[in-house]
Symmetry: C2
Subunit: 425 residues, 2 copies
């Protein structure tokens, strides 16, 4: 249902052409621009969902062919030694350490974010046996909420759910552990990791951070912030592939004292001694549980190699610039279309994604996807757009908003096909 354009709108469109050229200039001057070529971006797609599933690195398919046909198919069991499978969790942890500001021996790749969160939360609680409270965000990502509740019930602790804005004031001498997402999955709110960690330490508490929505899109400095424990996802901004194993970080000061609940044989100091009693491996190796998911790790390893030389300070600066450009364009070009910014307006308090609430948000996202602009939707009415600085160009931001303007002006979201709810959006 196209609408006739007003004179004002034509003026705006002229401005639009001017601005796109500006975007092209920013891309031409962007030192991160060449990184995009290390990933496969399908033709006719503007991908604003790298915060949910990062694109495939060039070389991932070849790595899968190698690990199946040669390593598994031909070398079989011998690949645990000969193809380096047994070292994969620590090797990938070392490869990931720089992206989170950790020492090489403080990170390991294993299992899922949820499982690692449980593992480290129970370990942290056992390091503070005389304190009764876990301080956590009242609206954190579901796994974080549910697993905090579950660990608290198992260890008979209390969960204090707070607005993270009050975090520093709410930490007390009774706080065992504070658990927060660094960047909120919905709003993109980025917390001050160093300040909250400092406040926790001042009260004798420990800090556990979930980096799922910042690792790979921020300039993280876990050691600089003196963080105790962290977990995070590798299939979002780190582009490790669907369901890629997650990572855990443990500050080296806990490398001997930390006791974990998931005492799998590969976390044992000498797994192949098959001893009767668990004796933890040194450091983060004890965070291994069962046999590593080698096929999934092979793709992740390619993704980590693709960002080995990245300057994370530049990544963070670009995340702020891209999200700001998107907000500015939406608010200037669609000022009366019903979009309400659901992310912090201050780029320093915002991660690399932007959420706008809209009463027809679901249909709008579907209409954008039909145009090849892939964002996602979160109930009840949030349109979420991710701007992975490694793969997103300034012109992508411009073009995405151009498509959004068309979706709104042409009322394309009214197409009944766009109101069909699917399980995952």
């Amino acid at each position: 249902m196209p609408v006739r354009r007003s004179r004002d709108e034509y003026v705006r469109l002229n401005m639009a052409r001017f601005h796109r050229a500006e975007c092209e200039q920013r891309d031409a001057a962007d030192p991160l621009a060449p990184i995009r070529d290390r990933f496969v971006i399908p033709a006719h797609v503007i991908y604003l969902d790298g915060n949910s599933l990062g694109p495939m690195p060039v070389g991932a398919a070849a790595a899968m062919t190698r690990v199946t046909e040669q390593e598994w198919g031909q070398r079989l069991i011998r690949s645990w030694n000969e193809s380096g499978w047994i070292d994969a969790p620590l090797r990938l942890g070392r490869a990931l350490a720089a992206a989170v500001g950790a020492r090489a021996d403080e990170v390991i790749v294993a299992d899922s974010t949820s499982i690692n969160l449980f593992q480290l939360l129970v370990a942290a609680l056992q390091l503070r046996p005389d304190r009764s409270t876990i301080v956590a965000a009242d609206d954190d990502f579901p796994s974080d909420r549910y697993l905090v509740d579950s660990a608290a019930a198992l260890l008979q602790r209390r969960v204090e759910r707070i607005d993270p804005a009050d975090a520093i004031a709410r930490i007390s001498r009774d706080t065992a552990v504070v658990v927060f997402s660094h960047v909120h999955y919905r709003s993109g709110l980025m917390l001050d990791m160093a300040a909250i960690t400092r406040a926790a330490h001042a009260q004798g508490a420990l800090a556990l951070w979930d980096l799922s929505h910042s690792a790979g899109a921020a300039n993280l400095d876990l050691d600089g912030a003196d963080v105790d424990f962290a977990v995070g996802c590798t299939y979002k901004y780190l582009n490790g592939g669907p369901g890629a194993p997650a990572f855990s970080f443990v500050h080296e000061r806990f490398h001997t004292s930390m006791a974990t609940p998931l005492t799998g044989w590969l976390g044992h100091d000498d797994p192949f001694a098959f001893e009767a009693t668990y004796r933890p491996a040194p450091g983060v190796r004890r965070l291994q549980v069962g046999t590593p998911h080698i096929l999934s790790m092979a793709a992740l390893e390619v993704a980590l190699e693709a960002v080995a030389d990245v300057d994370w300070g530049r990544v963070r600066a670009k995340a702020m610039a891209l999200t700001q450009l998107f907000i500015d364009l939406v608010e200037s070009r669609l000022p009366h279309a019903g979009f309400v910014l659901a992310s912090p307006a201050d780029p320093h308090r915002r991660g690399a994604h932007v959420s706008f609430d809209h009463r027809h948000g679901f249909e709008i996202i579907k209409a954008l996807i039909a145009r090849g602009v892939i964002g996602d939707f979160r109930v009840p009415n949030t349109c979420r757009f991710g701007f992975s600085p490694l793969i997103t160009r300034y012109v992508d931001v411009w073009d995405a908003v151009d498509h959004l303007v068309c979706v709104i002006e042409n009322e394309e979201w009214r197409d009944p096909a766009h109101s069909v709810r699917s399980f995952v959006t």
Copy 2:
């Protein structure tokens, strides 16, 4: 250091030629023989380690190419719906159900055997809150021992470690759960699952079985044995690939009452509602924790398709025949070489692998591997040989023993290269 052959030995070798022809006849008559062609067995390899890492199914590499290049690379996030990723854990569970004698909705594929064991053991203990004891085997596989200890400590229960031969007598009204491996990882001892489960139920206890060393090589009937809970590995006899996700079985009578400790968002009844409080999904879907490892699951799915039409009764019968043939050949051809059978002599009490202890076991296994006969070694002196009925021919058994005779007669194991200890053998 070859030795001269005695007249007796030449007589034995003549017998050998006779027997190999017999093996060829048994292969020709074996209705399972065509299954082997669905897997890649490298040239010049006799693979007797399918109990540790099964061979690659034909089509696995092509599936990995499809899931990376098309599903991930081109469809990106949309593949959660369009490529069926979101349903993979339940779909693979349904595909696996027949191999363990379960109903299609009683099995799910997720995470690792160790994590699933913890998940189900804690769930089982919470179903028996007034009982203080877990009955478990005194020499079970390390992960099973360590995680039983860990769950017991978290839930303040006691572990009673027993000789499984005494299982039925040791289960009491204070037993909450019995946990056993169906087939022992070292000896191959196969326990009577139905009888022990019956004994547990007679005392009001629950039975949790680890099927890692039997699933894919036995005729399992979990529902027939009225088993409560089970876990198992998919990368051994089920050929799912290195570190393939594991499976969990929950009898349908617990599908509403079971409460799990690892309350990840994907185990929630409505994950995409992002609710504040955990509300478990119906049935085994609540055993999901984090995002499924899609790349690893893609290979496993091919492996499960490769055995969809297998008659598991024939698989069990062939496992007994292959292991018996191996024992008979080793004992008749190498009667004074120092091999001591470490597996049950009765094939009905034995899984699909055979262990012989030998004081030079490590060097012997290394010398066999140098000849292309791949078995494995377990400290301190166990040579372990797996006879996956899906891929092992009777002539393979014959030829493997022929190589073993050469290793012993020529004293090839004395080669200093064979005494170098590697991390995984």
